[in-house]
């Protein structure tokens, strides 16, 4: 399991993290290919169910990357996103899963390095947690059949 390559979904705000990812690209700063970006018009658009569905479909980790606190283009989108991430973390805890599989991250559009760094750090964290627990179920099913 040590060397598995996690699948990570990153919901990135168009105005900051998505632009920061672009910036990382144009500066030739590499970040792990594990991170699959979904561009959203604002992290306030990301609802708890979107994060849950990503996990249900097998993502090993999910993060929401929005503007710096107080800098949301729609005023409170990133603050709401933070609360929704916390809600999903609570659900995961209630299920006995690691809540660290989901996270909220803040950055500005100019932070290409930070985008790459957080992508790298989050990937490492998920690697240390191991694959999405639903893979345990798949292994058990295979063992039985």
């Amino acid at each position: 399991m040590e060397n598995y390559e996690p699948e990570i979904v990153a919901f990135c705000c168009h105005y900051c993290a998505y632009t920061a990812a672009d910036m990382a690209g144009s500066k030739r700063i590499s970040y792990p290919a594990n991170v699959k970006i979904i561009r959203v018009p604002c992290t306030g658009k990301v609802d708890a169910i979107h994060i849950m569905k990503a996990l249900e479909k097998g993502a090993d980790g999910v993060y929401v990357a929005g503007c710096l606190e107080g800098d949301c283009h729609f005023k409170t989108g990133n603050a709401r996103a933070r609360l929704r991430v916390a809600r999903v973390q609570k659900i995961l805890e209630d299920l006995g899963w690691e809540k660290e599989r989901v996270a909220m991250i803040n950055m500005s559009a100019g932070m290409g390095e930070r985008f790459a760094k957080t992508a790298f750090e989050f990937t490492e964290k998920i690697k240390s947690l191991g694959p999405n627990p639903i893979s345990q179920g798949k292994i058990e099913v295979q063992a039985v059949s």
């Binding site: 169910i49 996990l55 249900e56 209630d94 299920l95 179920g137």
Partner: protein, 222 residues
């Protein structure tokens, strides 16, 4: 509105352990407003239950449906076409909805997914507080619009107890003393004279003391 909160996840999981086909039913009224059992919560709970069973290598079939009102037989009837395919029904409405389903579908194993809490009002987004206990003989007309039955911890009807401290209830500083609120508002309205009028011992029969209550409107019961 009637307020509710989702039950602990593990309690729900235990209820459902013997079943694999679940009809998960939300309600579009009170529990939608207090974010306990509307369409969104139905989706989230279904997703959490899926994660849980996938981890165990089991498949769980969850049919999600949110009715206009679960406490109304007319809407509960809409479950007829799904009920036979389900091993169990998990209801996210208040206790009234759960019972309406259990009454209509005699064979169905019905479980509540929320704890019904109280009749309350919204103080701000995400905050609800108890405001009425349905005593059946409303006193708000003589208590300046503040309910002593639901908001005084002892449901005192003739002024505060000796425990009121700095205007707060003796159960804790985060609870306003209802009688302090009533007094202040009577004064503000310039009708503090009403405070002197004693209220007779309350008849608690309309409040439920005479058994389960019912309203029959002959003009509507057709």
């Amino acid at each position: 509105m009637i307020t509710a909160e989702q039950k602990p996840m593990q309690e729900i999981i235990q209820y459902l352990a013997p079943y694999s086909k679940i009809l998960l039913v939300g309600c579009n009224e009170c529990v939608t407003v207090c974010a306990a059992g509307g369409r969104k919560e139905v989706g989230l709970l279904a997703s959490a239950l899926h994660l849980n069973s996938l981890k165990q290598g089991k498949t769980i079939d969850i049919k999600e449906i949110t009715l206009e009102r679960q406490c109304d037989p007319e809407y509960v009837e809409e479950l007829t076409s799904y009920i036979d395919a389900a091993d169990a029904v998990l209801s996210m409405s208040c206790g009234c909805g759960v019972q309406t389903i259990a009454t209509r579908f005699k064979q169905a194993h019905v479980y509540p997914a929320v704890n019904t809490k109280f009749m309350g009002a919204s103080l701000s987004q995400g905050v609800w507080a108890e405001r009425c206990q349905g005593c059946g003989d409303c006193m708000l007309g003589i208590t300046a619009g503040i309910c002593p039955v639901s908001r005084c911890s002892k449901s005192l009807l003739n002024g505060p107890c000796g425990g009121t401290s700095n205007g707060q209830c003796e159960i804790g500083p985060e609870t306003d003393c209802a009688w302090r609120l009533i007094w202040e508002r009577l004064k503000e309205l310039g009708i503090e004279g009403r405070y002197e009028a004693l209220v007779d011992a309350k008849d608690w029969r309309p409040a439920g003391g005479a058994g389960p209550r019912k309203i029959i409107r002959e003009d509507l019961a057709l």
